[in-house]
C-alpha cells in the first residue's frame, strides 16, 4: 500500500472529495451521521416531555398525546428516543479522543525511543488485547463503580491499545526518512521531532482511527448499557431502553425495535462514511476495525 509522506495528502484532497461524492453508500453514511448529530444536539429543545417525566400511564398506545406511546413506566417514548443517543455519543467521543491523544503519544514514543520503552509499551498493549473489552469493563466495575466518568476511562483504556499499534507501525515507516535524520542533525529535541516531523505524517491515519474507534465505542457503550454495566437508569439511552423493553417483547415489540433502529442507523452510517472516506484517501479501514 503506497502512502504519501508529508504534504502530498492535501494535493490529493479534491480527487478524494470527488470520489466521496460519487459513492452513494458513502453519502448515505454521511447523511445518516449528520442527521443523528443534529437530532442529538437539538433534542432538548424539541422533545414534548421530559425524558424521565412520568407523563402518562404505562404502555399507552401511540396517539395524539404520545406520538410513539409510553414506556414501561409511562414516560413519553419519543422524547426518550430522541434523547437516547446523547450520553452514549458523548461518552464514546470523549473516551475515544483521550485514547487517540494518549495512543498517538505512546505509539510515537515506542517507535522513536525503541528499546526498553518500546518493549514495555508493546507488552502492555499485548496484555490489553488479550482481555476482551466487555470482560475488561466487567473486571473494573466491581472495584471502580459505575458512573459516566468510569465509563469514559474504560473506553479510553479499551481503545488506546489499537491506536498505539497503528501509530507505532506508521511511525516506524517514517523513522528511516531523511527529514527525520535532518531534524536530528539540527539538534531538535525528541518531543519537537515527534510533534513536528512525525505527528503531521500520522494525522490522516489518526482521523481514520478516530472514526473507526467511534463506531466501535458507540457499539460497546450500548452493549454495556444493555448488560446493565454501562449507563444507569433513569437516563434515556438506547441500549438501556432495549434492556428495559426486552421483557415485553411478546406484547410490545416496538419498545425494543425503535431504539435498535436508532442505534443501528447511527453505527451503520458511521461505518459506511468511514469506509468511503478511508477508501478515497487510500487508507485501509478494514484491518483496524475491531468489534467489542
Amino acid at each position: 500500500m503506497y502512502r504519501s509522506i508529508s504534504g502530498a495528502v492535501s494535493g490529493a484532497m479534491p480527487k478524494a472529495l470527488r470520489q466521496i461524492l460519487r459513492t452513494p453508500m458513502t453519502m448515505i453514511g454521511i447523511v445518516l451521521v449528520l442527521a443523528h448529530v443534529i437530532v442529538a444536539l437539538c433534542a432538548p429543545w424539541v422533545i414534548p416531555y421530559g425524558p424521565s417525566q412520568l407523563a402518562g400511564m404505562p404502555f399507552e398506545p401511540p396517539g395524539d398525546r404520545f406520538l410513539l406511546g409510553t414506556d414501561v413506566l409511562g414516560r413519553d417514548y419519543l422524547s426518550r428516543l430522541l434523547m437516547g443517543g446523547r450520553i452514549t455519543m458523548t461518552v464514546a467521543l470523549v473516551g475515544v479522543l483521550i485514547a487517540i491523544v494518549a495512543g498517538a503519544f505512546l505509539g510515537l514514543c515506542a517507535a522513536w525511543f525503541g528499546g526498553l520503552a518500546d518493549e514495555i509499551i508493546m507488552r502492555l498493549v499485548d496484555t490489553k488485547v488479550a482481555i476482551p473489552s466487555i470482560l475488561l469493563v466487567g473486571v473494573l466495575i466491581p472495584g471502580f463503580g459505575q458512573s459516566v466518568g468510569v465509563l469514559i476511562f474504560v473506553i479510553a483504556l479499551v481503545y488506546v491499545a489499537g491506536v498505539i499499534r497503528t501509530v507505532r507501525a506508521q511511525a516506524l515507516t517514517i523513522l528511516p526518512q531523511s527529514f527525520v535524520a535532518a531534524a536530528v542533525l539540527r539538534g531538535e529535541s525528541s518531543l519537537s521531532i515527534m510533534l513536528r516531523e512525525f505527528l503531521p505524517n500520522v494525522a490522516d491515519l489518526l482521523c481514520v482511527e478516530f472514526a473507526i474507534r467511534m463506531s466501535s465505542a458507540i457499539l460497546l457503550v450500548s452493549s454495556l448499557s444493555f448488560l446493565g454495566l454501562g449507563i444507569s437508569p433513569p437516563t434515556p439511552d438506547w441500549g438501556l431502553m432495549v434492556s428495559e423493553g426486552v421483557g415485553f417483547i411478546h406484547t410490545d415489540p416496538w419498545l425494543v425495535i425503535y431504539p435498535s433502529i436508532a442505534l443501528c442507523t447511527l453505527v451503520v452510517g458511521l461505518n459506511l462514511a468511514t469506509e468511503g472516506v478511508a477508501n478515497a484517501l487510500g487508507l485501509d479501514a478494514a484491518r483496524g476495525m475491531v468489534k467489542g
Binding site: 453508500m25 508493546m122 507488552r123 502492555l124 499485548d126 496484555t127 488485547v129 488479550a130 482481555i131 476482551p132 473489552s133 466487555i134 470482560l135 475488561l136 466487567g138 473486571v139 473494573l140 466495575i141 466491581p142 472495584g143 471502580f144 463506531s215 457499539l219 450500548s222 452493549s223 444493555f226 448488560l227 446493565g228 454495566l229 441500549g239 432495549v242 434492556s243 426486552v246 417483547i249 411478546h250 415489540p253 425494543v256 425495535i257 435498535s260 442505534l263 443501528c264 453505527v267 451503520v268 458511521l270 461505518n271 459506511l272 469506509e275 485501509d284 478494514a286 484491518r287 476495525m289 475491531v290 468489534k291 467489542g292
Partner: protein, 322 residues
C-alpha cells in the same frame, strides 16, 4: 525456527502473568479489597469493625497484597480460583459447567463462520470492485455494525415470536446434554456469526487481493498457470496469514459477543455467570471468568502465530515477529 517458537511461547507466558496481575489488581487492590467490593452499603452499616476484621482474616485478606496475589496466581494456573466471598462455595464448581457451554458456543460459531467467510471473501476478491464485491463489502459493513443485542432480539422476534420455530430463551440446566444444547444453539450462533462472518470475510478479501497482486502470483500468471488454480492453490493459503494475524482480535471480539448473546438468550454460559456475578459482586467469580477469557485469547493467538511460523517460509527463516 525452534528459537522463534520458544520466544513466542515465552511471550505468551509473560502476557498471561501481566493479565493475571491486572485482573487481581483491578478487583483486589484498587480502591479497596475483595471484601469492600463484595459488601453493599447496607452490609457495611450493620457490620461492626470487629466483625469485618474477622471476615477479612477468615478470607485471608489480612495478608499483604503480594502474598495474596502469588497465592491466587498459583491456584489460578492449576484451575483453582478459591471460594466465593459471600457463600464460600468453590469457584470451580460454579464456572466449569458454564465454561463448557460457552466453549460450545464459540466452537460452533467458528466452525460455521470460517468456511462461510472464506466463500464470501473469495467471491469478493474474484470480482473485485464489481457488483458482487460491492454487495459483499456493504453487507459486511452493515453486519459489522449490528450489536449482538439488536441482532439477537431481531432473530427472537422473527424466528421465535412471529414465526415460532425456535425457542427464544434457553431453559436447560448448566449440565444439560450436549445434543439438546445443539438444537437451542441455532439462534445464539446465528446472532454471533453475523459479526464474525463480516469481520473474517473482510480480512480474507484484503489478504486475497494483496496476495493476488504479489510478485510470485504475477510470475505464475506469466508462466500460464490458470487463474482459478492461482486463486485456490497460491492466493488462498497466503491470504490466511494476515487473517491468522488477527486471531487475537477475532477471539476477543467473539468472547465479548458471547457475553452479550448469552445474556440475550439466557444461555447458561460463563458470560451470563460473569454478568450475574458482577451484579452480586462475587469478585472471585468475576476474576476467574475474566482470567479464563484472557487465557482463551492468549492460547488461540499463540496457536495462530505458531501456524504462521509453519505456513510462511519468510517468517520461518527470520527471527520471528517483534
Amino acid at each position: 525456527m525452534l528459537s522463534a517458537i520458544l520466544r513466542r511461547i515465552g511471550l505468551s507466558f509473560l502476557i498471561l502473568i501481566l493479565v493475571s496481575l491486572f485482573v487481581f489488581a483491578a478487583t483486589e487492590i484498587l480502591p479497596g479489597d475483595a471484601l469492600d467490593v463484595s459488601l453493599t452499603d447496607d452490609d457495611l452499616a450493620v457490620l461492626t469493625p470487629e466483625q469485618l476484621a474477622e471476615m477479612r482474616a477468615a478470607l485471608g485478606l489480612d495478608r499483604p497484597a503480594a502474598v495474596r496475589y502469588i497465592d491466587w496466581l498459583s491456584g489460578a494456573l492449576v484451575g483453582d480460583f478459591g471460594t466465593t466471598i459471600l457463600t464460600g462455595a468453590p469457584v470451580g464448581d460454579i464456572i466449569w459447567g458454564p465454561l463448557r457451554n460457552s466453549i460450545l458456543l464459540a466452537v460452533l460459531t467458528t466452525l460455521v463462520a470460517v468456511p462461510v467467510a472464506m466463500v464470501i471473501g473469495i467471491i469478493a476478491a474474484w470480482w473485485r470492485d464489481r457488483a458482487p464485491d460491492a454487495i459483499v463489502s456493504t453487507g459486511a459493513v452493515v453486519g459489522y455494525s449490528l450489536p449482538e443485542f439488536v441482532s439477537g432480539n431481531a432473530l427472537i422476534l422473527l424466528f421465535a415470536i412471529w414465526l415460532p420455530i425456535f425457542p427464544a430463551t434457553i431453559t436447560l440446566y448448566t449440565q444439560g446434554p450436549m445434543l439438546d444444547m445443539l438444537v437451542v444453539a441455532v439462534l445464539p450462533v446465528a446472532t454471533i456469526i453475523i459479526g464474525s462472518i463480516a469481520y473474517l470475510s473482510r480480512l480474507l478479501r484484503l489478504g486475497l487481493i494483496e496476495s493476488l497482486a504479489s510478485d510470485y502470483v504475477e510470475r505464475a500468471r506469466l508462466a500460464g498457470v490458470p487463474e482459478r488454480r492461482i486463486v485456490f492453490v497460491h492466493a488462498v493459503p497466503a491470504s490466511l496469514v494476515p487473517t491468522l494475524n488477527a486471531a487475537a482480535l477475532y477471539v476477543a471480539g467473539l468472547l465479548s459477543g458471547i457475553v452479550v448473546v448469552e445474556t440475550v438468550f439466557a444461555w447458561p454460559g460463563l458470560g451470563l455467570e460473569l454478568i450475574n456475578s458482577i451484579r452480586k459482586r462475587e469478585v472471585t467469580v468475576v476474576q476467574a471468568a475474566v482470567f479464563l477469557g484472557a487465557v482463551g485469547v492468549i492460547i488461540m493467538n499463540l496457536l495462530a502465530d505458531l501456524s504462521i511460523i509453519a505456513l510462511d517460509p519468510r517468517v520461518r527463516r527470520g527471527a520471528g515477529r517483534g
